[in-house]
Amino acid sequence: MTNFLQQKVPIMEALNQYKSMRVVPFDVPGHKRGRGNPELAAFLGEQCLSMDVNSMKPLDNLCHPVSVIKEAEELAAQAFNAKHAFFMVNGTTSAVQAMIMTACKAGDKIIMPRNVHRSAINALILSGAVPVYVNPGVHSELGIALGMALKDVKEAILEHKDAKAILINNPTYYGICSDLQALTDLAHQHDMLVLVDEAHGTHFYFGDNLPASAMSVGADMASVSMHKSGGSLTQSSFLLINNDVSEGYTRQIINLTQTTSGSYLLLSSLDISRRNLALNGKEIFQKVAEMAYYTRTEINKIGGYYAYSKELINGDTIFDFDVTKLSVDTRDIGLAGIEVYDILRDEYDIQIEFGDIGNILAYISVGDRHLDLERLVAALAEIKRRYSQDKNSVFIHEYIRPQVALTPQEAFYAPKQKLPISESAGYISSEFVMCYPPGIPILAPGERITEEILDFIQYSKDKGCFLTGTEDSDIANINVLKEFVE
């Protein structure tokens, strides 16, 4: 019965129906099915432009769905076992922000790991919510930030019983999961909402033998990047809600910042991809896991690289590992991950997801071909042969515990001054500094700048990381608070 319902693709069906009616468009968009912009139509394809249409009665309206979008959202909710699913067209960023702004008003506390995506801290700037950071666990050998320890969260909860919600990454960019069930139960015992950033976890809802998904453990809200492992177009995403979270209020929050001209290209891509996952997801992610397993095994045979997996599991800060992720520690060949990332692209025409100081991440999906996996492995073997150097040449920085002086919103809007970044130690930052990807802030607004942080920023720059976040696009200057805060 479920499968029968999941065969439906209401938005796609409505678009096809609308096209077949050959309606004369005296509405936006002005390219009028591409006729008004032949160059764009030739580049993107006529079919694509003919589907780029406006909200209207037969096609529903994203801001207030009553027909086909509503039906598609209900099908998505069913597929993900949620109470309701919202179609998001401004990225998972907007879903994360809607979660936080639904759960917290200005001044409300939210417990979160510090290694969140910038979108979460941006939501704090917008809403004025106050973060209570839990330092993530750190892997002593790999140097990567892990999940949150249950004990640390418990401490934070007991210390901040007035917190409204807790935010959890499931999984991290590297594929590492916290004990989602235990954290959810703990938060619920203290009447806190559980918000889950599942930007990298869409497949948990469909594959076998994958970590638990937010909805499966009874979490309250989850942001799911359908455009990552789910196969939809870039920028399209789902926001899932559960339990007592109000659909109407969440919709109001979404509508505060969401476009009123939701793209039907994005919406139909969500609809079609949801059907595909519901019907074929199990086989798809079985195949992805097998490809990742094969590639991981072959990379580990090269020597000098460590493609890690479930052996890392420690029952707490690495409660589970997402085996579809191909994360590789590169330090033993004497190259930073970002250096391997650059060599792969510049020398071998291979683009991977990201490289940081110690690791690279190659994104494996159902779209990969076996011969491409062979190319990646062979290129890594060649990079080791041609470029490897003394393994002590990569300097691993431990996770730096942030010193939080002000909330992100207070710091962002406070009177500020511009300083050369090298002279900023001791001041409170008014802005972000991060490498992108992965987009996890090294420094967030309201945090004290230290020599250690400046060293890490300089080192990342030297190794070739793409730094972003400051008003000054060269990251030579940084805005700090005028007033010195103890």
Binding site: E298, E347, D349, L371, E374, A378, A379, A381
Partner: protein, 283 residues
């Protein structure tokens, strides 16, 4: 009955052969495989609709991909052949009693099976006791080998489809590693004439020159390949194909060839100016 096989040699040029009989068609995990009986070229093998080999002109390709390296270094004993599903390259190599081992790595077993059945002219020597067949990805095979072969021959299809990985920098680098210190690499090097083939030629050359001290290109005349003007690459760690050619020694072997001779050997490295310029641009 008027049955013609047509292949696009460029987006705007077509090449057609009159067909007597469509002998075989099948689809492997990698590609579509067809055998046609044609009036002019005899039996032909096509992969994904592109001519790979015909009974009438295959000798040109297979003689030129093998004898140039073996006349340059007659001491070659251990050879790795990548691709070459039709078996023609192996047939030429088995003519040398001095070769002790030939490892052939072809990704698509079905191509070999089909050629054994329908193209005995090229597949005849695949059962030679010196030949070991491996059905796997060539890039994967060569990745695990170090300092082992005297000669690697890359007898591949085009740089798209299953042969894609054999036109990459990681592949040529791994070949370098798999060769002994005096090893030679001969590769299918595309054509300088039509734009798409010429791009493949330039990219292949650009990727090989970084690895080998000796890096040359030689040409041959292949009637059924686009433009008829085709190239092989000769890259080596030590031997120069002209300076080190021992013509007397090769001629003393008294091998029967229809295209290759030691004069063609030298002459094939003389390239037209437009080809030289394209190669120079990427060096």
């Amino acid at each position: 009955m008027n049955l013609w096989y047509t292949e696009n040699h460029s987006p705007n040029v077509r090449f057609s052969l009159e067909v007597e009989e469509h002998i075989y068609t099948g689809k492997s995990d990698f590609q579509k495989i067809d055998i046609l009986q044609t009036l002019e070229f005899g039996r032909i093998l096509t992969l994904d609709g592109l001519v790979m080999c015909t009974e009438k002109d295959e000798f040109i390709y297979h003689e030129m991909i093998t004898h140039v390296a073996l006349a340059t270094n007659p001491a070659i004993k251990k050879v790795l052949v990548i691709g070459a599903g039709d078996g023609g390259t192996i047939r030429e190599l088995t003519a040398y009693p001095t070769i002790e081992q030939i490892d052939m790595v072809e990704i698509d077993k079905m191509v070999v099976d089909v050629c054994r059945e329908f193209l005995p002219q090229t597949a005849s020597k695949l059962d030679d006791p010196r030949v070991n067949l491996y059905f796997e990805d060539g890039l994967k095979f060569v990745r695990r080998i170090e300092n082992d072969y005297d000669l690697i021959i890359v007898d591949s299809t085009d740089p798209f489809g299953p042969g894609e990985g054999l036109f990459t920098k990681e592949f040529y680098g791994n070949c370098y590693k798999a060769l002994k210190e005096d090893g030679i690499l001969v590769n299918q090097h595309e054509s300088p004439f039509y734009a798409e083939d010429a791009l493949g030629m330039r990219k292949a050359h650009q990727k090989i020159v970084g690895f080998f001290p000796v890096c040359k290109v030689y040409q041959f005349h292949m009637p059924t390949y686009p433009s008829g003007h085709w190239l092989f690459g000769f890259a080596s760690k030590k031997f120069d194909p002209i300076l080190d050619l021992d013509a007397t020694a090769w001629n003393d072997l008294d091998l029967k060839t229809r295209y290759y001779n030691t004069d063609i050997h030298v002459g094939s490295f003389a390239l037209p100016n437009y080809v030289k310029e394209q190669l120079k641009d990427v060096e």
